[in-house]
Symmetry: C2
Subunit: 338 residues, 2 copies
């Protein structure tokens, strides 16, 4: 049922039965390392190209998810997945081997919440019994596609973020199926917000207004205050984008201190790891939610979380053509039964 | 409700209230010209780049749709849209100006049925009252992204298809809202099928097995025979891909003659227009359905159609890396009330 301006209340509260996460070498050295299921030291993951490696990250992540459930791929009704690569080839080649009906998504770094939103609407409506949401990103494939070949060795801007090499996935089922797990209660799909930022090395600033818009709309639609949630976690605003988001809320008289966290800011030790403003990419929120926050929910350290994946919908070509960066953010409310 | 292996029966039968179509110069000269709403002679559509032109095609298409309904963009609950460009920038920049919550999709040329499927599941479940499905493609932006710069003037393979410069969109509402219109009764989201084709100039052959798989599954799931439908329309198999599809069905003892049509084969006069195997691209089925078939449904010349948009999920990079072409096809059953 739609409530307010753009939120859907999922009355049957679909359940996240299990999640799976896999990360690359840099993320393994970060502070959340212990929460991830699988750690891959080799950035090529035994493949000959970065793109094939990324696809293997996602495939291994989903195989690991299926091994936890346990079910056969053929028994998954639908998979909703996407990535950052041109024509989403990471997802395409990964899911080719899975024999599962597939909805391909592109929401840039917002895709994890988009996929989780659609998976949960399908379960809530009774269209399916088991849906998977999955996304991934890879530092090396993203770097050469969006920025510069790695061999170029260019210096990074202080506002730049580091694309996370990781994949995360979740399996969503009806509330009464399987063991206890956190429930998806609302989704708030976002509008595109573009404040005119044209600097591709400052994505946090481009996406923060979209996160602000979606979170504010969610709170108004659900008539909740920000502190209803133990955590409001954005996807990859990074350190600077997070400051902008907190400022925007301050102007509305809402204090996010102690409530807001950002997956991109959490995943690295920025000073030691030279990651500037933090992590980014489809795999950032996917792995941090599937690894860290899902653990916190399962162990009841937190009981109510709003996850808000943030995406920048430009391409290198559109920036070369003088366009600004359109931001989007999708929110998913996840709550333990109380 | 899911029926059979992968079909969803939409019990509340969402309605296609209106559609809108816009085409470029080559499509204007084709045999379906009279069915399209808008004809644009200038391939640049007054813009400075092909990508900006494509975005304007989609924006004009959606504005035209809204003018038919009439409703404000703010009153559209959600829009599901996608295109072929890297990072789907055509949709992103178009929808930025619309102020509508946005689900970005990537299914290559299968995206129109993907967007129509998701829009109809949202209406059927009561999540929304008005959803838009929209896709587009542009010959010049696709040619330089997927193949060669136009300036190169390369010769085309006899099996090649011509990316359609067009956009199509549809507004889906609950059955009891507004004037009479065709109803969406079932969707069959497809699996990825890859038979090992590596020739990027022979997309029809790469996608035909996916179309076969989805249509066969749909018929089995719904316990319908092929001739239940007045037309089974594939998206852009083209002339050769259509022959392969008909052959595949013949092997199963099913005769598609007189039932099967292909939007890519319909949109051009191949011999006169030098379009080889026909049209392709996200905008092909979008415009041919929104223009031609919607007219045929409204005028009751046909009453039952299965539209099956077909996509090839490769990228130029994945082909350079030696990969084959994964195909996918999504089916949507649309029926007049009888």
């Amino acid at each position: 049922m739609k409530i307010g301006k753009q939120t859907i209340k999922l009355e049957n509260t679909p359940k996240i039965l299990q999640t799976s996460s896999i990360v690359g070498p840099k993320e393994t050295q970060g502070p959340l390392s212990q929460y991830f299921d699988k750690h891959i030291d080799d950035i090529f993951f035994g493949e000959t190209t970065f793109e094939k490696a990324e696809s293997k990250f996602m495939k291994t992540c989903i195989d690991n998810l299926l091994s936890k459930v346990p079910t056969l791929p053929e028994n998954i009704d639908y998979i909703f997945a996407g990535d950052l690569l041109n024509q989403c080839i990471c997802s395409g080649y990964c899911i080719r081997d899975l024999n599962i009906p597939f909805f391909g998504l592109y929401g840039a770094c917002s895709t994890f919440c988009e996929s989780l939103s659609l998976a949960s609407t399908f379960i809530n409506a009774g269209y399916a019994q088991k849906c998977i949401a999955a996304t991934s990103s890879h530092f090396c494939s993203a770097e050469r596609q969006f920025r510069m070949p790695l061999e170029h060795g260019n210096q990074k801007s202080p506002t730049a973020q580091c694309t996370v090499t990781a994949s995360g996935s979740a399996i969503v089922v009806p509330k009464d199926v399987g063991t206890q797990g956190p429930l998806i209660t609302h989704i708030t799909p976002g509008k595109i917000i573009d404040m005119g930022i044209t600097d591709m090395t400052n994505m946090g600033a481009a996406m923060a207004p979209a996160a602000f818009n979606t979170i504010m709309t969610h709170l108004q639609d659900t008539q909740r205050s920000a502190n209803y949630y133990d955590i409001i976690a954005t996807g990859d605003l990074g350190v600077l984008g997070s400051e902008i988001l907190v400022d925007l809320f301050n102007k509305e008289g809402i204090d996010l201190n102690g409530i807001h966290a950002d997956c991109g800011a959490l995943i690295y030790n920025h000073d030691k790891q030279d990651t500037h403003c933090g992590g980014s990419g489809c795999g950032c929120m996917a792995s941090v939610f599937s690894g860290y926050f899902f653990d916190q929910l399962k162990s009841k350290k937190i009981n109510k979380i709003l996850i808000v994946a943030t995406g920048a919908l430009m391409s290198p070509l559109s920036i070369q053509q003088g366009e600004s960066i359109p931001g989007i953010a999708h929110a998913v409310a996840i709550e333990n039964e109380v």
